[in-house]
Symmetry: C2
């Protein structure tokens, strides 16, 4: 029998693993009862540290997430992992060997791993990911790590809702690193140069530093560069230290408050837009009517702006 929402949320707040898994499934499929569940558990959120790990496929993000998780587990912390990257071993889609190397994490009840890589979440990936972060937070997980590849519809939206984002690079990017500049610098709070036992790690670090000095010399926070060899669990204490420093900076500068408010704003607006579209298409306009409007745009009888304006006019907007 399926437990009622009150029971589920109370068990989740006690940190029960099964209640958490059930709750997450409810949220993922946008179950009508999910809103109530999220409302009841929301007051218990705000304690977890929400970290992001971003980087290209092949940079070793998942291995780094696994090494960080083991490091935090040794410190007695509970760790939630949300893999948004469809290429992540955590999604089960990629290389089997990687998944086997992470078996210890799958059998540890102090670790909760959830893949969000499936397409077509009702209400969008960013909505679902943020709801799952909240559930892990409410269930008492100390650290939530969100792994993203940075290619994907809502990925950067997701990155914008973490507290500290680690951008993972690998040595040997050569001159091309210059080109990274604008795209990556904006979202990096900490750089991890992973596979740092390969040749060129120092050069990559120097290049990142040079790029940073060009980008914004008056920045209050200069992203530290940490060398890691995740496959050998090297550099984890240094990475943790960099993340802790960033956390201190966030709090002392007021940036944490600003990011938290931004996270709230993104979440409320996501809900507003999605619920509005749900009520508009399928409610005010039937699916057939809506398809006819889209066909009219395609046939040049109207245009995208005009069609949208007419639809909004019908509901008094």
């Amino acid at each position: 029998m399926r437990p009622d929402v009150a029971t589920l949320s109370s068990e989740l707040l006690q940190g029960k693993y099964r209640a958490l898994a059930q709750s997450i499934s409810m949220v993922e499929r946008d179950d009508p009862a999910a809103s109530q569940l999220l409302a009841e558990t929301y007051p218990a959120t705000g304690r977890a540290r929400i970290l992001g790990i971003t980087g290209s496929p092949g940079a070793g993000k998942s291995t780094l997430v696994a090494a960080m998780t083991r490091f935090y587990r040794k410190a007695g912390k509970r760790v939630g992992i949300i893999a948004v990257d469809p290429t992540s071993p955590f999604t089960g889609g990629a290389i089997l060997g990687d998944r086997i190397r992470m078996q210890d994490l799958y059998t540890d009840r102090g670790v909760f791993i959830r893949s969000m890589a499936t397409r077509g979440f009702l209400g969008g990936l960013a909505r679902a990911t943020n709801d799952v972060v909240d559930l892990l937070d409410a269930a008492g997980f100390d650290i939530v790590i969100v792994e993203t590849v940075g290619v994907g519809q809502d990925e950067v939206e997701v990155i914008r809702t973490v507290q500290s984002n680690v951008v993972v690079l690998v040595p040997g990017m050569g001159d091309d690193i210059q080109a990274i500049k604008a795209g990556i610098m904006e979202i990096a709070d900490v750089f991890a140069i992973n596979k740092a036992d390969r040749p060129g790690a120092d050069r990559t670090a120097t290049e990142v530093m040079m790029m940073m000095s060009l980008v914004d010399e008056h920045a209050e926070w200069i992203p530290p560069i940490v060398k890691t060899v995740a496959s050998q669990a090297k550099g984890m204490a240094e990475l943790d230290e960099a993340l802790s420093k960033h956390n201190d900076y966030l709090v002392s500068s007021g940036e944490m408050q600003r990011r938290s408010l931004e996270r709230v704003r993104i979440r409320v607006e996501t809900h507003l837009k999605e619920r509005f579209m749900e009520k508009l298409v399928g409610g005010t306009f039937s699916a057939e009517e809506y398809n006819r409007i889209l066909d009219d745009v395609l046939d040049k009888k109207t245009n995208p702006h005009g069609a949208a304006a007419a639809m909004l006019g019908r509901v008094g907007f």
Copy 2:
């Protein structure tokens, strides 16, 4: 004096360069008259081929775009370039040398280059990019190339609105290419292995082919792999041939119709969501009221779902 919208749109439809530039600026700043302009020019759209070029920074995307543009110019075609990638030389943000190497394109009136890399477009990057594609199309440009890096808020949304998307790879990605699988395969209609004079180009091609055979053996369209050396204009005829074949496939399979309808759907929904938010925040709710609601969510007096539901309730949704 600023021309009226009717004059502007009629000049744009005649392909006048200055009217096009003015129109694009209007659309970018979401000028109130932009809707009228887009409505008047929309019937003239649907003739251009809309191509996407996607790849990591350093893959040589911009050099490839420049080489393709020169190739199409020799064939007498007019080419519009929209650089969404903030690291692109076309945005003016990157390496000066690259920009100088593309000077011929900047002085050619059969080429229109526009950077959309600035942040904070009113109404979002995807909205603005699609509107600019339409204006170039209406102004008689035969080919519109949209260059994206694939990291960015609306980037994949943009990629989903092109007709044929070229994913640019470089040799020497080694074993890591396996990890690309899910993320890239979905958005690639054609692969360009650029810098193919470097060692490892054949191996990269083989790896991509192996990945494709794993991903979807029943696909109707198998993305061809083209080797290019964009800096020497090599491989352009082959790339054009691959793109033409893809275009034929799109038309004959009915996929073109499906993509066009999807593009219309994305555009109408983008407008609906944005206009709705504009009317809701700043209209129904003052900015102060809205900020108070966000503060209440931050202070746990309510939650993101509850706040959104309450706001929608106020407007009868």
